[in-house]
Symmetry: C2
Subunit: 361 residues, 2 copies
């Protein structure tokens, strides 16, 4: 963590009210009561963004796939809820990370309210997207069928990422080694088995380049006539990738815990046009994990990226939770015990950095 | 269609009010207005049923799957909404068919309300389940990784069913041949591209026997302290399969458009303990489709099954829509233009055959 980071963190801390951090018992009790009230929805539903036709070859044998024909691939499933007074705020789009689905944002593993409903109760229209090639968005399984049919070799099979419980515990920073939690950890480890059920095979390796989810997120923001995009982990930098393709609809970008891709000056200049917030939790150096996660390197790369955007005149903030006095947050911070306190931080950032600016106040 | 069928159809028709069939313009206008009112939800969320740990072997190379370890498989993702006065009625569980997800029950391809929200507005708690091995329930991709790693031959790959647009059009009975709709067809063919986006690879071939979705549905019904289960197509007979494993929580079974599995006397006797409704749409003989769908054979098999259950003292109904004067319904009847009329038929059946009996009236 470099000194230059302090300035932006202090600036951010200055705009946060203490009750938002959940330090106040009366405020927490009031929130609990508020969250028990019936939820009123003006409209809800689901739809797809993107998708294109692909022609499949006929496969041997009888059955439903025998005839070949066309299928649709690369579409993105989106589920939404709009509260009655949503027009006071911008819609928020949430996109999950590796080996997960939109379940990420729903009921937590220990049964508390997820960010999806909390944001709706805070008068935001919320759109949950399953990444293209995941969950209800489906995937292109034709390479698997081609290998089974013997028309291409087995090494052409996609990488099917199945992240293990052991990987999740350490890479998601529930504790330093598998089965051992951090003493101040915020993740509800007593319910970790429910998190493991959310972890599903990741078939992003079947996708074309660039990842169609980026284009679909940009198109969704245009369709919504302006939206704040939130990405996490694998999708953490997707709001920025979407903005590089088409920033028209993207009014704010929230990136949670991921490596920040190195960008050239032109890209930085484009990204500097949209307010961005990057959030990291705790214990970045405290895990003994196999190869995939070097959280310190990700954090430092993002610090550098944030500074580049600021140097280009952008409104970019690095929100490093321990520096705000918020300790013990895991990688799955939207499911941590203090998840609604963190949601309040995001809501406050959107109000101040995206919506007040938009309204010219 | 056999003569014996008429008796039950007439009996059913007698309990239906004409407005429920959507014949009355005033009633339809009132329904449209009612459906525009804000939706009030007492609670909503998502969780999993079932699932067990499986140990994966280490795979070659670096990366997130390198270490092997355990993953969770066979779990079933469930998303629910409970209206304020849900305790007046039994919860309803909806399970989708082949090559589809719970999207089946949501917003229709042409943007109308799906059965999920309509049932909630009719004061029912609604639970949408993604079948184990599909969508947000994930799947066991370890066989694919084993073939890629060279430890098992390519013929051990799962069958990945990718149903084509061509298959969907005819097997789902939008029209007699691809691109040609039935003149009285109820499916919104102008929005068929949106249906194609819902169609995702089916990996049920990766599942153990018996299908864990059956056990998970039975367990969900127990967890809910009683529920009506609805299955469609591939899952159409799943309510019955679930009841054969554990009928304790299953208070009613609705099976929509599927082959009825041949059952022995003991199985028939068990199934006869729970009220069941089987629903079929129109044009069963009017498609020119490749192998997989012989709707007439399915219908006739189910007629025989219904009669067996009735002979064993059960309350079983075959609801063949054309015999009720309701024409043109496709296989995706929960998305057809008259989908809410059909929902009213199901609600009426539940009220009369499940809930009145339960209440001893």
């Amino acid at each position: 963590m470099k000194a230059l980071q302090w300035k932006s963190i202090l600036a951010l801390a200055a705009v946060l009210t203490l009750p938002a951090l959940g330090q106040n018992k009366d405020v927490n009790a009031k929130r609990r009561d508020d969250l028990k009230k019936p939820l009123v929805i003006a409209s809800q539903g689901s739809f797809f963004v993107g998708g294109e036709s692909k022609t499949l070859p006929p496969t041997p044998g009888p059955g439903i796939t025998a005839g070949g024909g066309e299928v649709t691939v690369n579409q993105m499933y989106v589920q939404y809820q709009i509260p009655p007074d949503a027009d006071r705020h911008l819609p928020v789009v949430m996109v999950h990370g590796c080996c997960l689905s939109s379940k990420t944002w729903e009921t937590t593993p220990d049964g508390r309210m997820g960010w999806n409903e909390y944001f709706v109760r805070k008068n935001r229209a919320v759109y949950l997207a399953d990444q293209s090639s995941r969950a209800r968005s489906g995937f292109d399984g034709s390479a698997i069928n081609a290998v089974k049919a013997g028309t291409v070799p087995a090494n052409q099979l996609p990488n099917v990422i199945m992240a293990s419980h052991q990987i999740a515990w350490t890479v998601f920073r529930f504790g330093p080694t598998f089965g051992k939690p951090f003493s101040d950890g915020q993740f509800p480890v007593e319910a970790v088995d429910e998190l493991y059920k959310q972890m599903i095979p990741d078939l992003n390796s079947t996708l074309p380049t660039p990842n169609p989810t980026w284009k679909n997120m940009a198109a969704l923001a245009v369709k919504l006539k302006g939206a704040v995009l939130i990405g996490h982990s694998e999708s953490g930098f997707f709001p920025e990738q979407a903005a590089l393709l088409d920033s028209k609809g993207i009014k704010g970008m929230i990136s949670i815990e991921m490596p920040c891709t190195a960008m050239n000056a032109s890209q930085i200049s484009t990204l500097a046009e949209t307010p961005m917030l990057i959030m990291f939790g705790d214990h970045l150096s405290d895990i003994q994990a196999a190869g995939p996660a070097n959280w310190n390197a990700s954090f430092e790369g993002c610090e550098k990226f944030v500074q580049q955007v600021k140097d280009a005149g952008g409104d970019a903030e690095m929100m490093y939770l321990p520096k705000l006095g918020i300790k013990g947050n895991s990688h799955m911070l939207m499911q941590d015990r203090n998840n609604l306190d963190l949601a309040d931080l995001l809501l406050g950032w959107i109000d101040k950095h995206v919506e007040l600016k938009k309204n010219g106040k």
